[in-house]
Subunit: 386 residues, 2 copies
Amino acid sequence: MIYLDNAATSFPKPEAVCAEMDRCMREYCANPGRGGHALSIRAGMAVNHAREKISEIFNISDPMQLVFTKNATEAINIAIKGAACEGCHFITTAMEHNAVMRPLKTLERDMGAEISIVSGNSIGEIDPEDVREYIKSNTVMVISTLSSNVNGIVMPVADMGRICREAGVLFLVDASQGAGSIALDVEACMIDMLAFPGHKGLLGPQGTGGLYIRRGIMLKTLMEGGTGSNSEYIYQPGIMPDRFESGTMNTPGIAGLGAGAGFVIKTGLDRIHEHKSYLVSLLTDGLSQIPGIIFYSVADKNRNSGIVAINVGDLDSTELSCLLDRDFGICTRAGLHCAPAAHGVLGTERRGIVRFSAGCFNTENEIFNAVDAVDRIVSSTKYKYP
Amino acid sequence: MIYLDNAATSFPKPEAVCAEMDRCMREYCANPGRGGHALSIRAGMAVNHAREKISEIFNISDPMQLVFTKNATEAINIAIKGAACEGCHFITTAMEHNAVMRPLKTLERDMGAEISIVSGNSIGEIDPEDVREYIKSNTVMVISTLSSNVNGIVMPVADMGRICREAGVLFLVDASQGAGSIALDVEACMIDMLAFPGHKGLLGPQGTGGLYIRRGIMLKTLMEGGTGSNSEYIYQPGIMPDRFESGTMNTPGIAGLGAGAGFVIKTGLDRIHEHKSYLVSLLTDGLSQIPGIIFYSVADKNRNSGIVAINVGDLDSTELSCLLDRDFGICTRAGLHCAPAAHGVLGTERRGIVRFSAGCFNTENEIFNAVDAVDRIVSSTKYKYP
């Protein structure tokens, strides 16, 4: 099997991630807490370790401002809804995932929120100055993906951050694609809130993610419940990170995420990005030799987080992806990737795109095999394509 | 170490739970989906398996009405907020956890919701007819715990369900304590929504939980995002369970939960409950020989899900719990257990309670050792108690 669906979930995981999760399940999966019994303290230490490791990756000075969530979607919902009010205005890009678009559309419908969508060029790259144009008196937040989950295109978040800070508008970055390989400094990029999944580039397990909230930003809560702190207080406490971590946490998952983040730090984000970029360029070069391939991604490592997005002739994306899986054991992702607006930009809203997404464990040989498989599908009379 | 904190998280886990999680992490932790590549299909099968096993435990006829969440707190928030509207009325009991109380108080503050709290007797047992008294024209929901997380007292959910169904009011049960040992049939008990954690009596890992929603009940969403279904639709789709499962799911956790639920079914809920009840009666008997012990729980197996709740003399609960941990390696939970109102009922809001909660893997000997430890703390001059 050749796994090229790392933009959905990275696979395989480092041995340390699997080992730490198993250790947690067998030795210390009690409720993490600052006090409590020995097992509870050990669980709390694993959670703190993960908080510190991830803070190191994003240059978050106070790990207590980092909230663990079940995935990036929860983190984005907390951020957007926590700051929303009647008639407020959001600015976002056309390359966003439904994790951003659907909460915004829901607020528009139920709360009279306004949404402005910044369109970019034909592959989704936006001009940060366009963001400035949209900012008005009721703008509360600008939301941008770090990199598109459809074609990997990288957004100018540092420039957007500066523009938002100057205008006094909150800046939320969805780092679902790129966290763990694209260097991202919340201070330097003036990011107020950063949502990320644990199970993609940070190499942790599914069921983990997080939200960094800059100190001083007070959001409404999406959920309330037991926090283990101020238990006698009838409302949700303001203390961080408890305010957004109600109920029992995913200790084994977070312990695994801590190990994943540790692996990323030890390996080096730059090295991981270089490797993925090299594979993207190999795959792009190889596929470009095959007649009938249409590219929606670029090979430039400064503009791509690790995705090759293509179609073949007028073939439906699902068909090519299924053949790659069925006949060659190659895992890719077809369809709309939960980002219909991005496909609108790319002109692929009808048939989708076949997405090849590289991970840090993919090899040259796997890429050569993938190119060969596409070539055989395209050229073989068996498949009658193109 | 003697672990008697199973009401927080059950520990240890069955071997099959640890093994399945590890297998998932190493072999198939891709994004679960109905279509997609081979690994994605295998992940989807593990999620479906867990959905079916848990449906079997609660007699849920359509597993698609079962939504996976990160914990019971998320499930309760989805249920309560999904049905809330301006000026609506909720009825609940004084024995509820902050996972119920805090969302309700937040709705009261922010949405003008009304809350009625049914008080019971001195150990929290309520008369279901009292619930009927509180129902009025704007009542939308009655919420009851299956069993208190402070003293294990079991609530008359079947009677409450009948009363709610007759009155046309939604009935939400928080099965955080008791799921996996107390037989609970959503049809027979006329339960409209059932929230549960995966990591307690169902023996799965932390980071899992769920909400059953009876077919025909349409709730507003708490979160929106990618569902892998109707991706081109700009709002959250209505299809179940996708409507409430946005973003990447906790596949390894849910796979482990499926194994946990399978273990519970194979062992038999009745047998697990019998075992826990036997340990509760042993512990209660043993502790009642020690002078100065105050009980807040009963030993009757029909009225207790598996908790012995005590204090010693006028000692603070935290002190006793810490001594048990430090000097005897016995894990218990002191304080308010995130349920201040329940402690109000029991008269322990100031010093809390020491909670011993049995699990299906605890042994007679562990109970004897726990009794001995309390006896030594109480009688030893070293500790100067009572």
